[in-house]
């Protein structure tokens, strides 16, 4: 099996229970796997949560930890995917002084070219939001940093797979057992 370290997106469909994040993060911690990003939210199925976790590991490692996730009582199903198998995005927010918007014409060009969105503008500051691949957000960060950024935050990866997950069918099968 391929022992090369690659970026994998791990998707874990779970019951919406307190404490599960602990169980999941403990599985990474025990194996000394660093989490690059972690997002948790509700999923397409009512009452079912979804964790999207990005890690750099080998494929055999990915297989083994998927087994450990699935072993958890409240985990419905866990998957791992390569970047090629998923469509993924991140989101960044930039808070910048409003003066710059009016005094630095270049900033307006940067906003336009990067397809960033102005979320709000007031006297003191304005807020930009940019969704896309990590490098697009980082590139925007570099461009704006020259002028000064008051605050910056970037989300974890969100991702959907190109292939069907069939979680709904799986849940129906659970219910019929």
């Amino acid at each position: 099996m391929n022992q090369e370290i690659k970026t994998f997106t791990i998707s874990i469909y779970t019951e919406n229970n307190i404490g599960l994040l602990n169980r999941i993060s403990a599985i990474f911690q025990r194996r000394h796997i660093n989490i690059e990003s972690l997002t948790t939210s509700k999923s397409e199925i009512e009452g079912v949560n979804r964790f999207v976790i990005v890690v750099n590991i080998t494929e055999p490692q990915a297989k083994k930890i998927i087994g450990q996730f699935q072993k958890q009582i409240e985990v419905i199903r866990a998957y791992y995917h390569t970047d090629e198998e998923t469509i993924f995005q991140e989101s960044g927010m930039f808070k910048i002084k409003s003066d710059l918007l009016f005094n630095e014409p270049q900033i307006q060009n940067i906003i336009k070219e990067s397809n960033a969105r102005i979320v709000t503008v007031n006297k003191e500051f304005f807020v930009l939001e940019k969704s896309g691949r990590r490098n697009e957000i980082e590139s925007l960060h570099r461009d704006l940093n020259i002028f000064g950024i008051m605050q910056f935050v970037r989300s974890g990866r969100i991702s959907v797979t190109k292939e069907e997950m069939k979680i709904t069918e799986m849940l129906l099968a659970f219910n019929n057992q």
Binding site: E15, I18, G19, N22, Q70, K71, I73, I76, F174, N175
Partner: protein, 577 residues
């Protein structure tokens, strides 16, 4: 309460009734057929203890002397009976003291339900008196855990706890219940849990993989079985015996699988692993098909994975999908309950005998007997050996005793040399290697199976790790037999120091107290044996005793356990001296 009242209480669970959370906890336990409970009271669990007082004729509470003792006693109970062991403690230190037992149960797949009290929910997270985040602490060592903050949640959560603890690959579950939930009221109705969405305890046996396994086995010239505790947990002892006998396959066991097949069975070739038998270890690297049944290729079994059974096709019968390909790649994986899978396998197997192959194990046994076993069991040197004590126990108990061993040299000796006629006769701390396990575990084992002779084999180190449980034995009048093999050393560590650390005996020598006097202080009678000629009579007296009995045997100080696979070495590098 009489039988009728008990029956009524059980029936009551079908209809709704208003009661406190504490009473509901007791009712849940009764509905799950819990009649014995190990624990220790304290502030945050007092409402439950108060209810227990009312139900004391239905549930016998055993007051251990330390919560760790309660957890291990519940483990001993579970391991010999196959039922769920229950332990209870208060919040904070009470709860954290359970953790070692819970971790032990997790790694050895022992069904346990632990109930801990917790500070009232409005104080959670405030560093209140005796508050610990026991959910956080126990998460990595439980199969499942949950905190209850409302009385109304109790029946459903406890039903789920018992279901999860005992189903599939069993394990420990911890339920933490806040004090306000214990005091609060609910409309009680109990329904046993029969399934949890998202949890498939036992994967269905795939017939195609069974067929593939049968084909490999039928074509094998040198097949070898290694079975583990999965056979005992799946109650597949008879099926395993049929497989072994029909296909004529030499079969070895892991420490946790010991006793599933009688030691005297002609195809039982002994124990694998670090201090296992010479033949099965050595020939693991010569067999052509290795059939692993209900075992997880622990590093103590495999030694170096780089050289483990590389020449063999591996068939893995396993209930837990996460164990397949975890350590050893399986050419054929048969997921499912061991009993179900073996039932499917048996008709597909050809009858065979593999006599020449079996002879190879016998030949290696002869070498091991000459170089190790003879001197262990029938020594000619002056000092007493641990092996001869075990041999004497075998003789006096006629191989019917359940042996509860602690951790160390004596454990390896006990597992190597005990004669097991019956299944569930080897109760030991396998995966975690918990010193202090045996004394409390023996209490639980004897209480679960009072008809059985239960003998605890303990070293002088491990004995002092939970020595306080002598008090529980005395108070409960549990007739366990306690054998302390005293070499005034932490023997196993000393052996490693001798072999791998230039005999630098750093902190392994023990100056011990007068154990007989201590036992006497707890009103437990017994004997100290220092000479060979005293041994047989003392063991005989111990086995004949109707009460608990303490036997201290002063053994050779610097004896070693062989064979031995040095840590990280290959199984074929097993040393006889």
């Amino acid at each position: 309460m009489d039988i009728e009242t008990i029956k009524k209480t059980k029936q009551m669970t079908a209809k709704t009734e208003r009661m406190s959370g504490s009473e509901a906890i007791i009712k849940c336990l009764i509905a799950e057929d819990v009649d014995i409970l190990y624990g220790y009271p304290g502030g945050a669990i007092m409402p439950v203890y108060d209810e227990l007082y009312k139900y004391r004729n239905e549930i016998h509470h055993v007051l251990t002397r330390h919560e760790q003792g309660a957890a291990h006693a519940a483990q001993g109970f579970a391991r010999i009976s196959g039922r769920v062991g229950v332990a209870m403690a208060t919040s904070g230190p009470g709860a954290t003291n359970l953790i070692t037992g819970i971790a032990d149960a997790q790694i050895d797949s022992t069904p346990l339900v632990c109930i801990t009290g917790q500070v009232p929910s409005h104080l959670l997270g405030t560093d209140a008196f005796q508050e610990t985040d026991i959910i956080g602490i126990s998460t990595p060592v439980t199969k499942w855990n949950h905190q209850v903050t409302k009385a109304s949640e109790i029946p459903e959560v406890l039903a789920k706890a018992f279901y999860i603890a005992k189903s599939g690959r069993p394990g420990p579950v911890l339920i933490d219940i806040t004090k306000d939930a214990q005091f609060g009221e609910l409309d009680f109705k109990y329904e046993k849990c029969i399934g949890v969405r998202s949890y498939i305890p036992t994967p269905k046996t795939n017939l195609e993989s069974v067929k593939a396994a049968a084909e490999l086995i039928n074509a094998a010239k040198k097949p070898m079985i290694v079975w583990g505790q999965g056979v005992i947990l799946g109650q597949a002892e008879t099926e395993l015996k049929t497989v072994i006998e029909k296909a004529g396959i030499p079969a070895a066991w892991t420490i946790m699988g010991a006793s599933a097949i009688p030691t005297s069975h002609p195809l039982n070739i002994g124990m694998v692993g670090m201090h296992g038998n010479y033949g099965p270890n050595k020939l693991t690297n010569e067999c052509d098909v290795l059939i692993a049944i209900g075992m997880r290729f622990d590093d103590r079994v495999t030694g170096s994975l780089d050289t483990y059974a590389k020449q063999a096709k591996v068939i893995h019968f396993e209930i837990d999908p996460a164990e397949v390909n975890k350590n050893v790649y399986a050419d054929v994986a048969v997921l499912g309950d061991s009993k179900d899978s073996l039932i499917e396998l048996i008709p597909l197997l050809n009858e065979n005998s593999h006599e020449a192959w079996h002879q190879e194990f016998k030949d290696l046994y002869a070498i091991e007997f000459e170089k190790v076993i003879k001197d262990d069991l029938h020594p000619t040197k002056e000092g007493l050996t641990m092996g001869e004590v075990l041999n004497e126990i075998n003789i006096q108990s006629e191989g019917d005793a359940a042996i509860v061993s602690d951790v160390g040299q004596h454990q390896m000796i006990a597992c190597r040399y005990s004669e097991f006629n019956k299944t569930k006769s080897n109760i030991t701390s396998g995966g975690l290697g918990t010193m202090g396990f045996a004394l409390p575990a023996a209490i639980g084992a004897k209480m679960a199976a009072p008809e059985r002779e239960v003998v605890a084999i303990i070293g002088d180190g491990g004995f002092q790790m939970n020595i306080q449980e002598l008090g529980t034995i005395f108070q409960q009048k549990v007739p366990v037999k306690i054998v302390v093999l005293n070499n005034e050393f932490l023997g196993m560590v000393r052996q490693w120091q001798q072999l791998f650390f230039d005999k630098r005996y750093a902190s392994t020598e023990m100056t011990n107290p007068d154990f007989i006097t201590i036992a006497k202080g707890y009103h437990i009678g017994g004997k100290r044996v220092t000479k060979r000629e005293e041994l047989a009579d003392a063991v005989k007296e111990m086995i004949a005793s109707k009460e608990s009995y303490f036997l201290e045997v002063c053994v050779e100080k610097e004896d070693n356990v062989f064979p031995m696979i040095p840590s990280g070495a290959s199984v074929s590098d097993i040393r006889l001296s």
